[in-house]
């Protein structure tokens, strides 16, 4: 590869990685079913995806996007109001509905979000 092309492509690669990182970290405003908002404030994408894969290893029958979406909507009492995810996660912790995945003590709701993200990726 020519050196100039290499430099340009590397630059694009770096920007792309940075975009991915930015996409998942510190973006407090973005809420979606497959976006573990809290975890993305402290963890990188690779760890989040590992958590998701870990969850699916424990619950192999959940290895299906529709199934995970159904479970997550269940956490929202089927309101599909994404803003309710925060409360759902906090309720999970209050009730002890937590898992230890990749060592992280996470709410089952956010574990499912990670799982959904891992299927997307």
């Amino acid at each position: 590869m020519k050196r100039r092309n290499f430099i340009v492509l590397s630059g694009i690669g770096i920007l792309g990685a940075g975009f991915t990182f930015w996409h998942l970290k510190g973006n407090k405003e973005k809420e979606s079913l497959n976006y573990p908002q809290y975890l993305s404030m402290i963890l990188d994408s690779a760890t989040i995806i590992s958590i998701g894969l870990n969850y699916l290893a424990i619950y192999p029958t959940h290895k299906n996007k529709n199934k995970l979406i159904e479970l997550l909507n269940g956490s929202l009492n089927n309101t599909k109001d994404i803003s309710g995810l925060k409360s759902a996660i906090e309720n999970d912790f209050e009730k002890g509905n937590t898992l230890v995945l990749e060592g992280w003590v996470v709410a089952i709701t956010e574990a499912r979000q990670c799982a959904l993200l891992s299927l997307d990726k």
Partner: protein, 513 residues
């Protein structure tokens, strides 16, 4: 009054009303209670007034089981004992620590926290501490910057310590040496406790030193205060009329050795935002850590534990104590840990200035009494002819469950309150693995080897610290702890020793009526 035993003629007999064996935290706390009383107190100290290798080597022994510190480095063998280099951390046991819990084998003291409270208050004075106040609310009122994480206190609460700078060897030397009725004998190592033929009463103590001479002490009452390992060792070695050692009809002496588990970086705490507080760092004579409430411990079927949170950036440069404290000479071992001490100071400064958001979770946790964790006697003898001790430090599954669940409960609270997330160290992640890695060590808190229990099948001493079956022999110190709790033992062992001292005083008074 002070006598250097080396100056005495061989076979001298020393007589008094009570004999206290050991001038460390327990022995000196008791001795000071007898100053200016009508009783003659014989206070025996194995060493002199300063560190001497020859005496220190009398602590040496063997280790098996979970990795531990070299025995000769874990205690100081001179006047003042291990207060000569301790960190000074003082906190009382919790109420739950005294209670029998079905899920917690061998738990349940024959006394309650309330029984000890008056003596805790007196122990504060002995240790030159402030008032007997350990509720977080008391300290929060006087120091507004002590903000605790807004967690549910019914689940995660704040445990407080006061920090003593008392070096007993310095603060009590003058009183003891000038006392008219306390006779301190230095270079007086107890090598045998001599009972009558039916082993119902002690008739005297044999003491020796490196001159090759031996002497005899006779008193009405004897209180052993040599530390958990040496007390057990001395009882086991005293076999003139008890083939298995004194107080050992049921093979309990030396068993149930406990230390607190020092699990550095048992987990990580990652906050979403900086949290402004001076609470979770040392300063102003106090320190604090997170702990699980008494009720939640019982509900979760775990033991006691406390968690400190040094910043991750600094914590990762601090090696576990079990790795740095491996020199038999405690002075060299301490030098090797100076890096930790420097980093601790740096941590305190950085925490104040920098307000980190990522922390190690260092856990100090209770060890369940385990009869297989024990002191026995080896074949090899020390310079005074006493068999050396062997420590086999053995842990139990509930020890690990406690650490894991404690961190999980904190993690659940952090999550519920939207504060952050907790990560468990790898050794805690496999539920089917009971083992501990070698970088999990003890905390130099020796407990349980002459534990307190009303039933002689499960204890060496009764609720008054009297050795079962022997009318005039008592044991003082943390060796009498039935369970270990999770806090440093010094405040409690001083409180227990003061209680014992009062008991013997009352016995002597009632005899004179």
């Amino acid at each position: 009054m002070h006598i250097d035993t080396r100056d005495l003629e061989n076979s001298t007999t020393i007589e008094g009303d009570i004999c206290i064996i050991g001038a460390g935290a327990a022995g000196l706390s008791m001795a000071m209670e007898w100053d200016n009383t009508p009783y003659k107190v014989i206070l025996l100290e194995s060493g002199g007034f300063e560190y001497e290798s020859e005496l220190q080597n009398l602590n040496s022994g063997q280790l098996t089981g979970q990795k531990y510190f070299p025995l000769e480095s874990t205690r100081l063998r001179y006047f003042g004992g291990t207060t000569g280099h301790w960190t000074g951390l003082c906190s009382p046991l919790d109420e739950v620590d005294f209670i029998k819990r079905d899920y917690f084998p061998y738990s349940g003291w024959p006394i309650t926290k309330k029984d000890l409270d008056p003596f805790y208050a007196r122990a504060q004075d002995k240790l030159q501490l402030g008032p007997y106040e350990y509720d977080f609310s008391y300290w929060k009122d006087s120091r507004p910057n002590l903000n605790a994480f807004p967690l549910d206190e019914n689940i995660v609460k704040t445990k407080m310590w006061q920090i003593s700078s008392a070096r007993f060897g310095s603060i009590y030397k003058e009183n003891i040496v000038k006392s008219k009725n306390i006779h301190l004998y230095t270079y007086a190592s107890a090598t045998n406790v001599n009972s009558n033929e039916v082993v119902s009463e002690i008739e005297g103590i044999t003491i020796k030193n490196h001159t090759g001479n031996s002497y005899r002490v006779k008193a009405k009452y004897y209180m052993m205060a040599c530390g958990a390992i040496q007390n057990a060792r001395l009882l086991l070695s005293s076999k003139n009329h008890a083939p298995n050692g004194l107080g050992n009809n049921h093979d309990v002496v030396g068993r149930y050795f406990m230390d607190h588990l020092d699990s550095k970086a048992a987990g990580e705490l990652w906050l979403f935002e900086k949290f402004k507080t001076d609470l979770y760092s040392w300063g102003g004579g106090i320190k604090s850590e997170m702990t699980i409430s008494d009720n939640m411990q019982s509900k979760s079927e775990i033991m006691n534990a406390t968690v400190s949170i040094p910043p991750l950036e600094i914590g990762k440069h601090m090696k576990p104590l079990i790795e740095t404290w491996q020199d038999a000479d405690p002075r060299k071992a301490e030098e090797n840990t100076e890096n930790r001490s420097f980093l601790s100071k740096l941590m305190r400064l950085k925490t104040k200035v920098w307000k980190p958001t990522a922390f190690d979770m260092d856990c100090n946790s209770e060890q369940a009494p385990n009869p297989k964790s024990r002191i026995t006697l080896g074949i090899e003898k020390d310079a005074l002819g006493v068999q050396k001790p062997i420590l086999s430090w053995q842990l139990s599954p509930i020890d690990k469950i406690t650490i894991k669940k404690t961190l999980e409960l904190i993690g659940q609270q952090m999550g519920q309150k939207g504060l952050g997330r907790v990560k468990l160290n790898e050794f805690l992640q496999d539920e089917n693995n009971d083992s501990f890695p070698t970088n999990i060590g003890g905390a130099f808190h020796h407990m349980g080897t002459t534990r307190m229990h009303n039933d002689p099948r499960f204890g060496v001493v009764d609720a008054n610290c009297q050795v079962h079956g022997i009318s005039n022999l008592f044991v003082a110190g943390s060796g009498c702890f039935t369970t270990s709790g999770s806090v440093n033992p010094t405040l409690t062992l001083v409180a227990l020793s003061l209680r014992l001292s009062d008991y013997v005083k009352n016995v002597l008074k009632s005899e004179s009526i």
